[in-house]
Symmetry: C2
DNA sequence: TCTTATCTCCTTACGCCGTACGGAGTTCGT
DNA sequence: ACGAACTCCGTACGGCGTAAGGAGATAAGA
């Protein structure tokens, strides 16, 4: 699968679209929709059938217009994906709550952030496939960055360290969500359950696989498979990784606050 | 960008392809290439121009055959990507070295693993776009799993914990590499340097962005931007995250070995 | 040696995709 | 009343993965 990219065109136009200035009175017929309606339709399609099923023609069909009409709302598909991206980020809980800690300590807050993001990826798996070089600087992207940073504000970290911690959590969550979503979707995408897959692949693999060539993989793979009742247990992997990660941050904060 | 998916077809056939049984004498003309040649050509294209530029027609052209001829080597594009995936994993250093630690402690070893993987993603950025639900169980995928596990073997962790640690490192590295690769490619992909981009987007953003609405993002973003001389510093983010992560693992091992 | 099954490789074609181009009809400022 | 600016659409181009089927080569079995 090739990933879809964001933001190819004119940056100024992209920013204006993202922040959605209300259209002044202009010549020509009134537009049938708002730009947000187009983004909403696109999100629905991507949620339901994946980014691979998202096409301009399909979005247009859902809105009841022709494909080319979309180009009066959006310069192209890349910008549409920018809008989708910013749009779904609006779903995140957005406590503008006190700067000094609201509930529990930083650890609870950072953990909550990680869980929110993990859940977001599960609601919109296509987010994982969007390559956000130069993430679309829409209102919700900024708001979410602010929201995430709040978790580690005022706990003794410098501004740059705060940014790095949030990035680290984001990177890990992205990776863990990727595994989790893959595990969820694999059966429906391939039309084969894990069991059916092994039924077919197993005998062939038995012929070529030498357990003694990679003894540790053999041992650990077997132990993990038995424990998970599957090749992976994504939610356990997420919980485990998150706990380690927070321990690492704790060590940093202890060192910083002396 | 839509991601390309691996492994849609018959599992048995996939396994056989991956492990490459030598072809016995059969009726019909001798094949012009080996399956590995096809995979090699595909990897070259993806390395050079990205996964988006990888098409069956293009691979065929590079090999000097027609597009449809490829289908005598490979059932489809998904399986070809499986082969590419397994192929590039062969590049990883593969010390079958002693099970008891070779160089330094587990921390040095695990750090080395992370760096190797980070570098691998940089050599083959398209790996980041391959959605590996049910990773292709080729010889090199297995060997790499074994290799990674060696870093944390015999340090007091249980088998399942070893698997989880390796998964966690993999998830984080994937995420960090994604950011790093995006930052590297963004200029050439969009045709705009960061500076040019800000020149165009900046004025528009200034009109809509309210610094006081998201004060922490404003403050931290400014501090980070000044420190990095850019929006992100991917290699610093990698180093920082990795250090925290290893601290977290250290805490786990201390607890385990009491 | 001849037949036949099976292989490689090819041409053609189908239904998708993003979107360039240009035309028709509508609505505003003047 | 005019003309500019707009929305919407039909058509078309060059790409994609790959289904279908044909031509020629090569092996095993008779």
């Amino acid at each position: 699968m090739t990933t879809d990219f964001t933001g190819g065109g004119d940056p100024r136009r992209s920013i204006e679209l993202l922040w959605g200035l209300p259209p002044g009175p202009r010549p020509g017929p009134k537009p049938r929709f708002a730009v947000a309606d187009v983004a909403a339709a696109a999100v629905e399609i991507a949620d339901a059938d994946g980014l691979g099923a998202l096409s301009m023609r399909r979005v247009a069909e859902r809105l009841g217009v022709s494909a080319m009409s979309l180009y009066t709302y959006v310069p192209g598909k890349a910008e549409l994906i920018d809008l989708m991206f910013d749009r779904v980020l609006a779903e995140a809980p957005r406590d503008t709550v006190p700067l000094d800690e609201a509930s529990g300590g930083w650890r609870d807050r950072l953990e909550a952030i990680a869980r929110q993001n993990f859940a977001l990826y599960q609601r919109h798996p296509w987010l994982l496939q969007v390559a956000t070089s130069r993430p679309p600087l829409g209102p919700n992207v900024v708001a979410k960055y602010d929201h995430d940073l709040r978790a580690v504000d005022g706990v003794g970290l410098g501004d740059v360290e705060m940014d790095l911690v949030v990035q680290m959590v984001g990177d890990f969550v992205h990776g863990a969500a990727r595994t989790a979503v893959a595990a969820t979707q694999v059966a429906q995408r391939t039309g084969l359950t894990d069991e059916e897959w092994w039924e077919r692949a197993g005998p062939a693999l038995a012929k070529v696989y030498d357990p003694d060539a990679t003894p540790i993989a053999t041992r650990v793979g077997a132990a993990a498979g038995a424990e998970y009742n599957a090749a992976v247990d994504p939610s356990r992997a997420f919980e485990f990784g998150l706990a380690r990660l927070l321990d690492g941050v704790a060590a940093l904060i202890e060192r910083a606050t002396g």
